[in-house]
Symmetry: C2
């Protein structure tokens, strides 16, 4: 399998980040990660096939919003809070707050 691509902190692009967050499914993924820290792809229970979810994770990953750690047969995803906050201060917090209380 091709290795997972994670852009560096300096490469984070605001339009790309906003675009990635503009999809309801991806926004929901981000909200859950914000609450739970680290989650495997299969544990989200969202109404989409695994192929579709894999696509959404890829969009979030390539925008630099999440990072994916491989452990055995699982992929554990987590928010890149520090990188996002360093590059776009207050943005993630505002988006999470705006997306409603958990």
């Amino acid at each position: 399998m091709r290795s997972l691509h994670h852009p560096g902190r300096e490469q984070l692009d605001l339009p790309a980040v906003l675009y990635a967050l503009s999809d309801p499914t991806r926004l929901e993924i981000v909200r859950r990660l914000a609450g739970d820290g680290e989650l495997a792809c299969g544990t989200f229970g969202l109404p989409a096939t695994k192929a579709t979810l894999s696509h959404h994770f890829k969009v979030l990953r390539e925008a630099g919003i999440i990072q994916t750690r491989v452990e055995g047969v699982h992929r554990y995803n987590s928010l890149r809070k520090q990188d996002l906050d360093a590059r776009f201060p207050g943005l993630l917090k505002a988006v999470l707050k705006a997306s409603g209380p958990r």
Copy 2:
């Protein structure tokens, strides 16, 4: 001409707002409005035809990010700062800050 559509404050939708802001041209429009207050459509000097710009203004307007006031032959656009801040506290500020200094 059909009257200009402006959604109410309560109807502002986060994904739609994030999507509208995810285009570089639209982001630039928002940045200029944030600095200059109120601007006619033709005064932006952006590299696009008037048809394309009209489209971008429409997307911003229908997402509730700007409001357009008709005066004579001009359309004056301004940011809906108060509505955005009421609905999504801190979001506009974070986006503007993240989009770089003017």
